[in-house]
Structure formats: structure tokens, C-alpha cells
Symmetry: C2
Subunit: 344 residues, 2 copies
Amino acid sequence: MRATLIYGAGDVRVEDVPDPVLREPTDALVRVLRSCVCGSDLWPYGSMPAKEKGRRIGHEFLGVVEETGRDVAGLAAGDLVVAPFMWSDNTCDFCAEGLQTSCRHGGGWGIPGVDGGQGEAVRVPQAAGTLVKLPVAADSALLPSLLTLSDVLPTGHHCAVTAGVSARTTVTVIGDGAVGLSAVLAARRLGAERIILMGRHKDRTDLGREFGATDVVAERGDEGVARVRELTGGDGTHAVLECVGLRPAIETALAVARDGGVVSRVGVPQDPEVPMGRDAFMRNITLTGGVAPARAYIEELLPDVLDGRIEPGRVFDRTVDLDGVPDGYRAMAGREALKVLIEP
Amino acid sequence: MRATLIYGAGDVRVEDVPDPVLREPTDALVRVLRSCVCGSDLWPYGSMPAKEKGRRIGHEFLGVVEETGRDVAGLAAGDLVVAPFMWSDNTCDFCAEGLQTSCRHGGGWGIPGVDGGQGEAVRVPQAAGTLVKLPVAADSALLPSLLTLSDVLPTGHHCAVTAGVSARTTVTVIGDGAVGLSAVLAARRLGAERIILMGRHKDRTDLGREFGATDVVAERGDEGVARVRELTGGDGTHAVLECVGLRPAIETALAVARDGGVVSRVGVPQDPEVPMGRDAFMRNITLTGGVAPARAYIEELLPDVLDGRIEPGRVFDRTVDLDGVPDGYRAMAGREALKVLIEP
């Protein structure tokens, strides 16, 4: 089959790789119907040292089950399923607590010996725990929105949930990428009535407004902080959803948090340190969030996607086939595309 | 009257200062019955640059109301009262939320124009909001325990509450100072059944065991982390109460937190950065806590002190009069005393 490999910064290739086969009785094979490129794929795409041997990439996909191992209960060939961006047994104590990203028998896609999602097919470890059946046909118009259940929608939701977003909280969302826009959607879904979106790409913040943002702040740094404070009577917001991962974003997040407020981050931190010294301490700011246990949220979010109450798939603004994946990376890295859908 | 001033590192003096008088209609004058030296007083005592003019110090006291301004409702001369370590109106929106440390009309003791607690008397701003009446006589044996309501007991309690301590959480407490021991007491009071105390002063950790610690880890750094992990099946604890404020303590705290766990800090951070990069992110570690809104907790904790269910005053192991305050500082800084009580 064909699959995507990354060899280094700016070097993504689609190549022939061995067809996946069942290795463990808990595996399933899934033929990929839709995959996509993630903002987090852009970190290695931007900076990974060049390697002789590529590694598989992609961690968001939905598809059709083709074969299941003998220990995979509840799934059968022909089932349409979505995979969260990490696989997990969904039975260990961490999974039972809703922290499938720390599953005792789980892991990530594209690590050695495990397929990536940007290919024609995937061997899914711990398939019974990992995959969630989708009650739609393979030609459903909902596939793009359902695909966001892999990552961006539950990631935005995790950010909002851990930040304690409710009807009583004011919210700032930092970042107008697909995760930031999903966080807007999630915050609105949880009842937030005041959502300030910080982003400077008008087409994206326009979509953010449709997703529920009540205010948009295009300024960055100190000016952006001043603008959010001005919009909130000087106080900042109860919840701040940091959806970028870079140092200036977390600095802004801390600065626009109301005293006693919560900064939740779901952008992979690119800095080993967080500036939470005396100021954050004296203002009782909490830092929470982290890699989203997407699997924990899929059943909760699925009904809203199925009945069209939310349309998270609107974050996809470009579609490519497998051969177009390298172009898709270029477009996303160059900010020409918000999020690229892949139809293998 | 006489009061304590700090002039620089190692230089604390007790001097004659003007008697306090009412300045605002919301003020009260309190004659101090008991005060004490705080671990946080040791930061300036350890490093403050020498000044020509001293500044008042001390932020924990209880005493008798001598005079009240015309807007001070609910208090009268003769009332025995305790003051939390920051003053607040207790009516603004932050106070209503239980964050009196961010009161819109509040502040700290010992700032310019405001008395410190280590003296014979104190002008208390926002007295109706700040002071809490104590239903005991001025010669009550409970005074030391009641004095801990100013700071160390609610600070330990804030640490445990914000960390989400309950009967279902395992707990590590880092630091065997008065706040750490108070955090042990608070965690036990909130129902925690497994409390690991990290500290290396046996007399202090012995008191910690009496306060509720089930395990003591004397090792520090990597060895200490390994020991806590060994005690918890490799996982670390759900809640980590960081009661020191130095970089190695927060590093240890993050390392002994279970995935999905919470580190709460109440030791004033001495480092502007917190090492919460990718590891903390991938393990969904939350950092919370901050300066404790002691005022928010006094009514809740008071009954347990009054009926002797908890004896937080046991952290005092030395008593001095006002003239003995400089010696008290020396003893605490030199770890000869755990916490020094002052009887002016």
C-alpha cells in the first residue's frame, strides 16, 4: 500500500510500504477513508533533522474495518470507525479515569512498528478499546466532521473542560488554527456566552465567529493583552484556552487570565519552561490541560456531530489525495490552508 | 509602641514606632496578643538588600480590638480577633468568590503606611471584612492553634483544597516546615488516607506523622522521587502539595505526580520559571495553588480548632517576647526552631 513518511523538515514523501497485517489478537486492520494533516505534524515538518530512513506520520483517520484479531470484541469487517489520535485498551485504570493518553497498554501512531494515519490502511493496536463505531455510510457528508473526532474537536473540548468552561465563565481562546477554532466551538457548546478569540487571520476568525466567538482580538503581545483586558473591564477572563504551544502564546494566556482563573493548554509546548513565577502565584492562576484523551470524549461529542448541532468539519478548507499530501503540508505550513483533508 | 522592622538580610530590629491611630472609618485598632514568624519572612531575612530605613514586618496575629472606625460593623472594643495574612473588604466580587487575596480594596501587612503584625498593636484596614471574632478568652490555651488561622493552617488547607484532596486521592507533601505540616493536617482532615511526607528533619516529620502522614521520605532529588514512586506502585500520587517554593521542590513535585494529577504550590516561588514542558503536558499534570486566601477558610477551620479535633498550634516550638524577635528569626533561619511564637 501507499503511506506518508516524513524524512525531515520540509520533506514528506508518499511511498509504497508493506501492507499491514494482524500481529496481535487485539489488532484490527482499517482501510482509511479520510485522514488529515494536524498542526502538530507541522512541528517535525518545520524542524526535524534529516534522516536516511523516513518514519510514518499521521494520527487522525476514519475508515472501514477490514479484519479483526480474535480478541477484538464488538467490531466486525465492514464497520465504519474513527480512531482517536492515540490508541488505548480503554480498560486500564487510567482509561477508566478518562486519561486514555496514559493508558498502560497504549501508544501513539507512527512510532516504530505502528502505522501512521496518512496512508491507505492502518493496523490498529488495542482495536476494541481504540476504535469507535460511526453509524453512517461510507459516503456520508458528515465524514469531515466525524474525522475531527480523532483529534481537533476533542482537543478543543479537553481544553475547555479542563479550564472549567461553563455558562458562568468568560473565555479567551488563543490561536485561530483548527484547534483554536475547535476550542471556540467546544466552549460555546459548554455554554460560554463570552468568548474572545485571539487570532489575526480574518478568514479563520470569521469562522471562529460562526463557531461562537463573540469578540476577535487581532493584536498580539502586550497590545493583545491590553485589548482583552479592555474588553473585560480590566480583569481578563476566567478561562484561557491556549491552542498554540509557543512561548508568546503562554505568556499572553497568563496575562489575560483573571485572578483565580485557569489557563488550559493543548498546543504542544515548544518551550521546556512556563513563566509562572510570583505574578501567577499571587494571582492564583492554574495551569492545566495537556495532550487530550480524545477517546474519552468521542461518545459525548458524537451525537452533536451526527445531528448537525456542531459542524467541526468546517475547519477543513482543502482536500488532497495521497499523492497530494506533500502539497498539503506545504499549504498548511505556509498558512495557505487551515487544515488539509486527505482522501486516500 | 514597639514593633519589628527589617533592614536587610539578617537584620531585624525591634524599635519604637508611632502608636497606630484610626485613619479611615473602616479601620480598627488591635492590640496584639500573639504573633509569629513565617517561613516567608525568611525570604527577605535571607536576601533583602540592606536599607537605611527599615520596613515593618509580620503578617500573622491575633489580638483584642481596642477601637473601631464608624464604618466597622460587627466588631467592638474587647473582641478577640484573628487577622488573615492579607486584609480585604470581604464584599467585592473576588472576595465573594473566596479569593480575598485579590480583593479590590485589600492589601498586605507591612507595606508602606500599613502596620506589620510583629508589634504591640496594628491598625487594621477594612477591619469588618478582615477580622474574624474568636469565641475564647484572652488567656485561652488555644491561642497558638487559633493564631495558625492567620496563615499556615489555611495555607496548608488551600494547598490541599486546590489539589483536590479527598478520601480517594493519594497525597505527597513536599516540605516539613510549618506549612508542609499544616498541609498534612489539612489533607488528613479532608479525608486522605495515604499521605507521603517528604522531609528530612526527624523531629518535624515525627510531628507530621502525628498530623496524619502515613509515610515519610527523607531522601531528596532523584532518590526521593524514586522512593515515592516505589511507595505508589511506580505511579506517583494524585495530589502533590508543594510547600517550599524552591526550584528543586517544584521539580520533585512534578516528578512524583501521577499522570493526570495535580501539583498545588503554596511556597512563594523563588524561580520565575516552572519546568512544565512536554513531559508535564504529555502526562496532563495541572499546576495550581498560589497565595492562600486565608480569610475564605477561617470560618470553616475554626470549629475544628475550637473543639481540639486538630491542633495546628503544635508547629510552634519556641516562644519569644518582642525583644526576642531577632533571636526568633535567627533560630528559624538556622532551622533550630520550626516556627516561633511571639508574645508581645
